[in-house]
Symmetry: C2
Subunit: 254 residues, 2 copies
DNA sequence: AGCTGTGGTCGACAATGTCGACCACAGCGG
DNA sequence: CCGCTGTGGTCGACATTGTCGACCACAGCT
């Protein structure tokens, strides 16, 4: 049995390394970072380059990620059934709530944003599709951790770094937060990830009633909150959206 | 010399195959499509799955692209210098022109959209970042083919399929179109790709004065055109934007 | 010049990935 | 109900394939 293909694992490690570092990396950097021989690293990089997964700056010789990854990532979105179903509903959610709407799924130890609808005003906003958010501090992450067992263990085992003064970091407090989310059917993030920013999210279920993702909205705490709580109207809008997407996926009535 | 790593090339072929087909593919489909033994294919797929590049539907056993590709594709955008410089200028372009703005680069035989600013109204629009456009019929593609020698040979060798009745397909006509683009410094697409849709684009240069991409706008022909020509105001806006981005990249004055 | 770094090449060696037969299971039709 | 045919998946022998580390050419500093 060819357990796992070594060269592929190494290629993946190289890609992740290039994705992590802000700027381009040289051949020697890559080789030493992964503990590989230069020749080996060069062979992998050359092949990755030929396939378009990696590009090389002709003058400096440094390597960076390639365009083919963007194209394939886009194709991933096309195939994604959850995202396809959620497109129209999240659009309505952003419109009715007046805030940016997000759709996230569990990926490794975080939430991967697979859809993002801009807040419906003319402000300049950057698209966050493909970005990762922490499980322990965001509304999307808490929802996943509360309702998806896999996400729960990832969140429990992972580190809970304090991103603001309000971030929940201890295991007991975090479990209490998840318990509350399970009881209420939704989760909130009150300046626990970014100062001045709050979010609400609710789970999306598939036809087997298994949680497959979370939808939510994020916005300035002054707009999203009323006192120390999320505005009830927004909570209702998010939950309605999550139910609508779940129904589209075949989860039936609740 | 380890020419090219076979297993990596095969893995890339599998990913492209999965990206091409609309729906998920089974192990046997993949193996027969690529002419590989099932065992070999399974080994590659298993590794790709472990690395997150491929996901497997637990019930049907079919394979599809994985979330890690989206994450890496997003990282590619972060590193992309051209895109980073263009962010603010394309935003202004969309605002001043009232149309959707695009930034594209050459990738294989087409234009890869690396940035897309929605038309500034409340209509529902789908993000096209990561999508590909043809070189021979779109304004972005013509600009690249006219100014970038590599793009030119790709376009000349590639097939020019007629997407509408107005698509330029013969080699002579196409070269004339490119000559016009070089003379004017910009290119147009008057319903040559989609019925009722027109676009304008201009080239972006880097610090070595080499063309590295193209910016442009796309919109309904009634709004973008005046008679049989693009509105002069929009052409000027696109060219200004292209110059601004080029200047940001260090191309200096023209 | 000479040093030290870079990316890149080469060839020997064996670890590695490949192949094709084989297995367990599921769905279908007789 | 039972084989048939399809699926995804496993296994072990074989040799192809990728790996290693020394080596090369070049560039930028001392």
């Amino acid at each position: 049995m060819p357990g796992h293909i070594q060269s592929l694992e190494r290629a993946a490690a190289i890609l992740r390394l290039l994705a992590g570092g802000e700027r381009r990396l040289g051949l020697s950097d890559v080789a030493s970072s992964l503990g590989l021989a230069k020749g080996t690293t060069h062979g992998i990089l050359r092949t990755l380059q030929q396939e378009g997964f990696v590009e090389q700056d002709p003058v400096s010789g440094k390597y960076q990620l390639g365009a083919e990854l963007l194209r394939l990532g886009n194709s991933y979105l096309d195939v994604h059934e959850l995202r396809a179903r959620a497109l129209v509903w999240t659009d309505d959610l952003a419109r009715s709530s007046g805030e940016a709407a997000y759709l996230g799924v569990l990926h490794q130890q975080g939430v991967l944003i697979v859809h993002h609808v801009f807040r419906p005003d003319d402000s300049r906003q950057v698209l966050e599709v493909g970005a990762m958010q922490p499980l322990h501090s965001t509304a999307l992450g808490k929802v996943l951790a509360a309702f998806d067992p896999v996400a729960h263990s990832e969140a429990a085992e992972g580190e809970r770094t304090a991103l603001t003064g309000r971030t929940v970091t201890t295991a007991e407090d975090f479990e209490a937060v998840l318990e509350l989310a399970r009881a209420r059917g939704w989760a909130a993030d009150l300046e626990e990830t970014w100062e001045g920013v709050a979010s609400v999210a609710a789970p999306v279920y598939d036809r087997r009633r298994m949680p497959v993702g979370a939808v939510g909205i994020t916005g300035a705490v002054e707009r999203v909150c009323e006192g120390t709580e999320i505005r009830a109207r927004l909570v209702a809008a998010v939950r309605d959206c999550a139910r609508a997407v779940s129904r589209d996926l075949g989860a039936g009535r609740f």
